[in-house]
Symmetry: C3
Subunit: 274 residues, 3 copies
């Protein structure tokens, strides 16, 4: 077996809502490569819904664990660019680093990774000269990520912060005697509805009472039996299952659940018995 190449730079994983039409992400990569030649750049995605911070936070919190320990996550969904919102970097106990705007985008993932220190990106030595007011991804965040990839301690970038903006877009879970209640928190490109109901919360609910078969209901649509895989139903049929990130998911086999059920992020979801 070949020994894996030992890069001396930490990999940098990039997440933005910049889309794939413009040269903006490419320019950020240019800035990084100038500071950290040969840096291993991985696109998480740039197709996030424009300026929707919660969607970016979910993509990040679901993804970071699958990357090498010392990965630098550079995330830019930044409707407040040029306002008082602070540019930050976070070092975590798990090893991952997070760089981006202080608007909640980084919080869920950084919190899960165990926040060690948060700094404001103020030191001009680690920014591009002539920082713009409209493109901090290029002028502030990309340089910081590149310097971290080279091993620069985040404390060099500016003053330590005690707290950051927190969002937790998937936290509204409640329970009644008859049902466990959550929401659709993400709709993917296949139209699958991803909820905030974790496998463990459903299994605990199911342990407390057992009155038939578990089913999942989205708003006032028909309940759908909870199964194991897409293939457990016929093509065109709806299916509920534990998705690949460990939460309840509603899908149509070979189809688009969001379109067929007219569902979107924020829709209520119940797990109960039928």
């Amino acid at each position: 077996v070949r020994k894996a190449a030992q890069s001396r730079l930490f990999p940098i994983t990039i997440l933005t809502d910049f889309g794939y039409r413009d040269h903006y992400v490419g320019v950020m990569k240019g800035v990084i490569t100038k500071i950290a030649p040969g840096a291993h750049l991985i696109d998480l995605t740039h197709g996030l819904a424009a300026q929707q911070v919660p969607g970016g936070a979910i993509a990040l919190v679901q993804s970071w664990r699958f990357f090498p320990k010392k990965t630098v996550f550079l995330a830019v969904v930044d409707p407040g660019v040029g306002t008082a919102r602070r540019p930050i970097a976070i070092a975590t106990r798990a090893g991952a680093y997070f760089v981006g705007p202080d608007n909640g985008l980084l919080w869920p993932a950084a919190n899960a990774a165990g926040i060690k220190s948060i700094v404001e990106l103020k030191n001009p030595r680690y920014r591009l000269p002539d920082t713009s007011d409209t493109f901090h991804g290029r002028d502030i965040f990309a340089p910081a990520a590149a310097w971290i990839a080279r091993g620069t301690p985040v404390t060099r970038f500016g003053p330590k912060l005690d707290r950051i903006v927190q969002i937790a877009p998937w936290s509204e879970v409640s329970e009644t005697p008859a049902s466990l209640n959550g929401r659709v928190i993400y709709v993917d490109t296949f139209g699958n509805l991803i909820t905030n109901l974790t496998r463990s919360s459903v299994e605990q609910f199911a342990k407390r009472r057992s009155e038939g078969r578990l089913a999942v209901q989205v708003e006032d649509a028909e309940p759908i039996l909870l199964r194991k895989a897409y293939g457990d139903v016929a093509p065109g049929e709806p299916v509920a299952l534990y998705g690949s990130f460990g939460t309840v998911e509603i899908a149509i086999r070979d189809g688009d659940a969001a379109a067929l059920l007219g569902a979107a992020v924020g829709f209520e979801v119940w797990v109960g018995w039928i």
Copy 2:
């Protein structure tokens, strides 16, 4: 002249129908990078039509020859994920490796490269722990590709298979005294209609009889003269030519042939004389 860098890892080329909105492809790259740090990852495309296996098979069979000999092709168009369809890896005589679902996606390219051995990806040592039923791209295929890139023999992954699912989406070619008959097998983003009529089959047809000028007809549209390059006709005019992958292609110069001719994959195409 500089000597090219000698990476100790085989490059990994990734092809999916996951699109560019979600973090799914990014997460697969995280998994690979964790196993094979510094691996050279190349996106073939992630914009394939969702769950259309033949389109993916065509992209793969047209592309593999242009990559380095020892490239690992990680291909995921997988409507049957979580069903009985097997996850496989293929080693070929040409040197290329193919990893993905056993649903025909890998067959045309692997067959062209000369199949040496096929294995089922069963060994848990080369999968992620807690394999999901909905995302084998992340849990089974990405790890296998990463281990192959490190030089792990495919025979370690599981039992050898004698046969795999075969599809040949471009095979329906027939000949009458007056014409050579095939189909549109791919429509690209410019609206060009790519057919399954190879240059050599047309040249052999043309050698057997010669009654004027060669022309190409799509269903009941007007025949179009076979020429050399897009530039051989005026802007807005239709042109038929041998496309860059060696088969007859119908285009509109600076326009969209699929839209203008109302044509799609599966449409019949004739080469004949006018």
Copy 3:
């Protein structure tokens, strides 16, 4: 601080209008990787409007400065592929290299970088065998870029050229006593209108006369005050500011200016006093 990895290959930055659906860009990367294993490939974007050379020229001229000195820019927006238009490579005094069709695409960036030499890509040794008439990106441009990344002098590729096709899509700026007049030259994915009015030209205009507050008008829409950042207006309000590439830009905070103002590339823009 870790020392950045010293790759022996120049990075290659790729810009096309091929989109993200087909395997065409991936195949170009395969060709490059075969010639220059381990080459650092960066996508500038592949989402350029199909066959619109000026948009590509703008993306390139705005981007090249942000990349490492010795970057190879491989740019393909090539409506004239297969016609008499020449395939070229350019070496510049700033260190950057440009490879692509001679249709004006490379001119603004190469000119800004200081053209040192231009060659026609004729030498078959640095092309793929069996060059097609429809895909020079794969057969001519990708190999040339890969050889340059390895340090091959551009003069090996073919005869020197004295001149290349020039376009300057942002050059129409004029001044009246009351206003500075330009155009929208690029509309980005957020709907921001990027103009050809540079910060320095506006500041010189403002110095010559000062009659109130500077405002920007697009065609016959309402004038919009020139400010510092998106955050200087309320969400949903229009704002004019110096964009991140140093020219006047019109945006809607958290909105789409192109849609709301019905504006597009080519629209007239005035800076004046209100």
